[in-house]
Amino acid sequence: MNAEAQEFLGIFISESYYFYASVFMLLIHVGFLAYEGGASRTKNVLATMVKNLLTLSSVGLAFFFFGWWVYNAFPLFPVSGGILGPWTNPATNETVTAAMAVVETSYPWSPALAPNTADHLTGVFFFAFALFAMTTASILSGALIERVKIGAYIILSIVLGSFTWVVAAAWGWNPFGWFYTAFGYHDFGCSAVVHGVSGFFALGVLINLGPRIGKYDERGNPRPILPHNLPLTMVGLMLIFVGFYAFLAACVIFLPGYTRETTIYGTPMTLASIGVNTTLALASGIIGAYISSKADPFFTISGGLAGIISVGAGMDLYHPTVVVVLAFFGAFLMPKVALLIEKIGIDDAVGAFGVHGFCGLLGSLAVGVLATGYPQGEGVPLTGFIGQLVPTLVCVIILGFIPGYGTSWLLKKFNLLRVPRDEEIAGLDVADLGVEGYPEYSMNWATSAVNAQQRSEIIAGRLDPQPGMQE
């Protein structure tokens, strides 16, 4: 093989690696589709799934129009420079010169994203980041099911998936980002940058959106609204797990000419450590939530995700035994947090705040305790608790909660946030789409007020069906 062919092979391996990692990441969206569809009631199943599907469109296009540029243009702003764009002089200093080389490939009109034999990598990195962005927005969609207007969700998904999360990534994940250069922030698997931001964004929206009709009784006590298809929800989460392996693999940097894999911060790591630590975090998280929730199926399987998110930020550094203990701890606390949120009057339909917000916060802070003292580069502070705490708070409050609360408050003021009461009662499938998810079957049983005990007695013939119910 001649030198030219060897060089091309290096490029092709990098191109293929990010391409297929991103394709597998799409399984996260298959999983969210099944997870949220199963978690909704029968009268809302199609609307929930369509809303989830539209995330690919709203975030995909918005990320092309401005999201990819935001990631490359915001790392220095506002601490060590301005927002980089066509107005910036690349010769300002060495950092700006290096950063501008990337910024210029991220404009929607850039030839780097078009078919171009001179650039095999910008496009696959765009693909990977677009999938990160869609994942972030999908975390929001589950929390809001059964009462948000589709238009409101699309606006919120664009704000979260194509702007606030991307700013967090620019500051905390980009090698030029000031979280990293000024604080030594380390968040390999995006615990705070993705999950913390989206979980707290969802919390802000939920405060304005309010609970589903019937979620709380007259005295304000929460009532269970059961998933219409718990097995589908569990399969959905399994698909999310598969996608998460790809998500974490896509966080590894391997470029043509490299002699080793690195994190986005340029520190050494191995893909093998992701294989071991993700598997252990998944296993340990499931048992943590299983014990904590007393074998609740919904929380048990969410525990796997909680475990992975709890260790995500330091997965490249943690010893496997540390992963087991930390993932267990995060997943053990997750159901308690979800129930606390419910108790104070916030109806988070899938526990998104507990899984993503709380565990993302925990995972990011844990690096400051369990992986403290790592040097990351010349002139970059060591990893430490304050170096994790300040950026994490910026992520969850300034880029998560405040934009979520503010955007949804504006939508609420213009009556654009929540569906009308009669549509919510009738179900969004009929109201929004004009078609039922399960037209062959009567759904009266699922939507009636009878409880499971009464239904089982009716089936057994010990009780007559009540008015409005069909046999």
Partner: protein, 140 residues
């Protein structure tokens, strides 16, 4: 400090382990013990949690049964490794291992089954108490 590195050059050019507490085997051992305890707790909980609440069992007896089962299983694995000496022929090793497994595997299973069957047994008093208990698991 959980980092085994003192400067960026050392970390960025390392050839070998980079994991946390790599310079402190005591802490790794501590985490390993905690991990094992959590795993045993999981096995114990899988027997005791029924319909969203822990069943009233004697945790000491149950723990002993689980530990006995685990030791029996570990013993069978250990012995099969020790028996795998190079001086013996493959056939002999295979025969001895299979003979041992014939004894030890059923013993392990018996231990597990006894644990499970004891869990199934409830006194009339407990049975009455169970009927009165409200299912607190909201998502069941």
């Amino acid at each position: 400090m959980s980092s085994p590195f003192s400067n960026p050059k050392e970390f960025l050019e390392v050839e070998g382990p980079i994991y946390t507490f790599g310079n402190n085997s005591t802490i790794i051992t501590f985490f390993l013990i905690v991990s094992a305890v959590l795993f045993l707790w999981f096995i114990y909980a899988s027997y005791t949690i029924k319909s969203g609440k822990p069943a009233p069992k004697n945790p000491v007896v149950l723990s002993l049964l689980i530990a006995a089962s685990a030791f029996s299983l570990a013993s069978s694995v250990y012995n099969s490794t020790v028996d795998n000496q190079p001086s013996r022929t493959k056939e002999t090793v295979s025969l001895i291992s299979s003979n041992k497994q014939q004894w030890q595997l059923p013993m392990t299973l018996i231990g597990m089954v006894v644990s499970g069957s004891l869990l199934q047994r409830r006194s009339p008093k407990n049975r009455r108490r169970k009927r009165k208990t409200i299912n607190r698991n909201k998502y069941q």
